[in-house]
């Protein structure tokens, strides 16, 4: 019933916009070749269909998901939207097509290719968010806390409730350098800001003091008879290190060994 057509959907990048793509795909009884944000960069032989964001249509789709499929599936779709997977929009569309066909059974169709790909991408995203709950490092600037992260997925919305609950009486900011967005918590109010730039200011003496203490603790707590850098890197991948107080020093020391490992991995790929 749904044919794959040589057509590309283009939308504004918002969640509502994507829901409208889903709406349009059902109306036109087709699955597009790709879904892109904004204008196509490359010249393509396919037609580009610009999908306008209409909150009425978006509402109809996003209400139908929990109703006709399940709450769990809606949650999956929301998380998938934050994923860094390249064709996430098309995957969401295909996933929802199957969802509306099979209903809540889709939750258990784990061996299905689309469901499996979506689940893996969602895990990658939520797992990164979980790691960052630990790896975020704040610096204190006269009572205000600020941190910078560089995640692959848009994890900020997934971190919000954790940090606002934990530091409910602080004022803080977590800046996502990759996606230029920030979680701002000020006077007990949460805000997620997009398209902003931010640099951490220099630390003051007191901040430096606690950083040094923390580094001292970090260096001491490792048992040198059990030195195992490989294990550490598996559990705490290197891409997080540059934003972690205690790891910045380590980056220099093991640069060579890390390069070797990277080269080895490339050969396998």
């Amino acid at each position: 019933m749904f044919n794959r057509r040589d057509v590309i959907y283009s939308y504004d990048g918002s969640f509502e916009g994507l829901m409208c793509c889903v709406f349009e795909s059902f109306v036109r009884k087709e699955i597009p070749e790709a879904i892109i944000v904004g204008d196509p960069l490359q010249l393509s032989f396919s037609d580009v269909l610009e999908i306008e964001t209409d909150s009425q249509k978006a509402m109809r789709v996003s209400r139908a998901i929990p109703l006709k499929i399940s709450d769990f599936t809606f949650d999956t779709v929301c998380k998938m939207f934050l994923s860094c997977v390249e064709n996430k929009d098309l995957l969401i569309l295909e996933f929802l097509h199957k969802g509306f066909k099979y209903g809540r059974n889709i939750e258990h169709m784990l061996a299905d290719d689309t469901v499996n790909t979506v689940n893996k991408a969602v895990f990658h995203c939520t797992h990164e968010a979980h790691l960052l709950k630990g790896f975020v490092r704040f610096s204190d600037y006269n009572g205000y806390l600020a941190a910078v992260i560089e995640p692959k997925n848009k994890v900020i919305p997934l971190l919000a409730s954790h940090f606002t609950d934990r530091f409910r009486n602080e004022n803080f900011l977590i800046y996502d350098k990759t996606h230029r967005m920030a979680l701002i918590y000020f006077s007990q109010r949460t805000e997620i800001a997009e398209n902003i730039d931010f640099e951490l200011p220099d630390a003051n003496a007191q901040e430096e003091y606690y950083r040094e203490l923390w580094k001292c603790f970090y260096k001491t707590i490792g048992i040198k008879e059990r030195y195992n850098p490989r294990c550490r890197m598996n559990l705490m991948p290197k891409r997080f290190w540059s934003n972690m107080t205690e790891m910045r020093d380590e980056l220099g020391i093991t640069e060579n060994s890390a390069n070797r490992i990277l080269q080895k991995n490339e050969r396998y790929n």
Partner: protein
């Protein structure tokens, strides 16, 4: 002495305590006018150079100690620099580290100064400052000092999320030998009290909503591995008994890192028995999540782990009568016993097979480690395509990559490998394996 120096000494003396988990208690919200919460899943904030997770600020209050336990780096007769934190210093460090999201909370232990009661009171003071003055809602793991009075342990339990009493050595004989100041009784007594109070508390909470929670994340303990001649079977049986009798949340195993010159224990140049520790953790997981009993994993005749195979593989190859299993029908409990299928993938199989029959390709998607599992399963009545079962070939597939590599490096590449009669030299070599994590 400045704080940095103290921190260095007191973190260094606490590093052999394995427990650094922050899981088991969900306290969203914490104190409304304070700081901090606790997440049930636990959060690792960093990983040390040895690959172990850092989730708590793990320090001793002091490393001065009355006792002279031979395995311990802080024993009275050992010549190491000593230091002592004041309760305010610890609280200040904890809060400042916590605000910067360096840590999930505090793990506080201590050497015994003056008396067990006095030491316990000091720990209680730190916890009181944190909970009352700073309204700290983060995770606190405190050591119950063996020999402290029951009233003090009770106070401690109300302030902390988890308390632990280290059993240290697996038998009274070993304790007599290495820790003459401690007895099995003085360790088990507080452990029993804590268990009782946790149970009592679970009733109270039902009756009175405002009843203070007693050690909501439960109780744990730690054993030192490789300092005494106790066998793996003895250790595992003890763990099983403690899980059952004292409802412990965790038993931690700590490979002994030689810290002295005592004539009873391995000399300082010997490597810590990391492979053995690894095997114990694997077996521990089998006890807690896979429905195994200690008697199934090891027995009187086989008192030690097979160094080549993990305990689950080892069990499976000794029970050929139960395999292969049809993945599409086997009960969940049996799926759990297949090498290469873990709790997650067993749950996924049970869910997915209700929607469609599963074949090998599907299992791979569900996260099953087919490399090991293929020898023990059937999909829709069929063996995996092209599977040739020879003892050596199977053995190679069942061993972990690092064990295989170590064997090859030692020139065992072409040799026949057998399940049941590994030559002693081979075993000895593998026992020396380290870094197998």
């Amino acid at each position: 002495m400045d704080i940095a120096e103290k921190l260095k000494i007191l973190a260094d003396s606490a590093k052999f305590d394995a427990a650094c988990t922050s899981s088991g208690v969900d306290r969203a919200g914490g104190y409304s006018d304070g700081i901090g919460n606790a997440a049930a899943c636990g959060i690792c904030h960093s990983f040390a150079s040895d690959g172990r997770c850092i989730s708590l600020l793990k320090i001793l209050m002091t490393n001065f100690c009355l006792y002279d336990c031979k395995y311990c780096i802080n024993r009275r007769s050992n010549d190491v620099p000593r230091a002592r934190f004041t309760p305010d210093e610890i609280a200040d460090l904890t809060i400042n580290f916590y605000r910067r999201n360096y840590i999930e909370g505090l793990f506080l232990s201590s050497g015994i100064i003056q008396s067990p009661d006095y030491t316990c009171e000091q720990i209680i003071e730190v916890l009181t400052i944190l909970r009352v003055k700073y309204k700290f809602g983060g995770y606190i793991h405190a050591k119950a000092i063996p020999g402290a009075s029951p009233e003090l342990i009770e106070k401690l339990g109300i302030l902390a999320d988890r308390i632990s009493v280290n059993i240290e050595l697996p038998s009274q004989k070993s304790l007599d030998m290495l820790a003459p100041d401690k007895s099995k009784n003085s360790i088990l007594l507080p452990m029993g009290q804590i268990t009782k109070q946790i149970q009592q508390n679970s009733y109270d909470i039902v009756k009175y909503k405002s009843a203070p929670k007693f050690a909501p994340a439960g109780q744990s303990t730690q054993m030192i591995i490789g300092a005494t001649p106790d066998t793996d079977f003895q250790i595992l049986r003890l763990s099983e008994a403690m899980y059952k009798k004292y409802s412990l949340k965790r038993v931690f195993y700590s490979a002994y890192v030689p810290v002295g010159d005592s004539r009873f224990i391995p000399a300082a140049n010997e490597k810590p028995p990391l492979l053995r520790e690894h095997r114990l953790y694997q077996a521990d997981w089998l006890l807690r999540f896979y429905g195994f009993t200690a008697g199934e994993i090891l027995d009187e005749k086989h008192q030690d782990f097979n160094p080549l195979l993990d305990p689950k593989c080892n069990w499976a190859i000794h029970h050929p009568e139960l395999f292969p299993l049809e993945v599409n029908r086997a009960p969940y409990e049996m799926l759990l016993r297949v090498p290469g299928i873990g709790v997650k993938s067993a749950q996924r199989i049970v869910a997915a097979r209700r929607q469609a029959k599963l074949d090998y390709k599907d299992l791979k998607k569900l996260g099953v480690v087919l490399k090991r599992a293929v020898y023990f399963i059937l999909c829709m009545g069929k063996r995996a395509e092209g599977l040739i079962v020879t003892e050596t070939g199977m053995m190679r597939q069942l061993m972990s990559a690092s064990v295989v590599k170590e064997l090859e490096d030692n020139g065992y590449g072409g040799e026949q490998l057998s399940f049941f009669d590994t030559s002693p030299t081979l075993e000895d070599r593998v026992k020396c394996l380290t870094g197998e994590m």
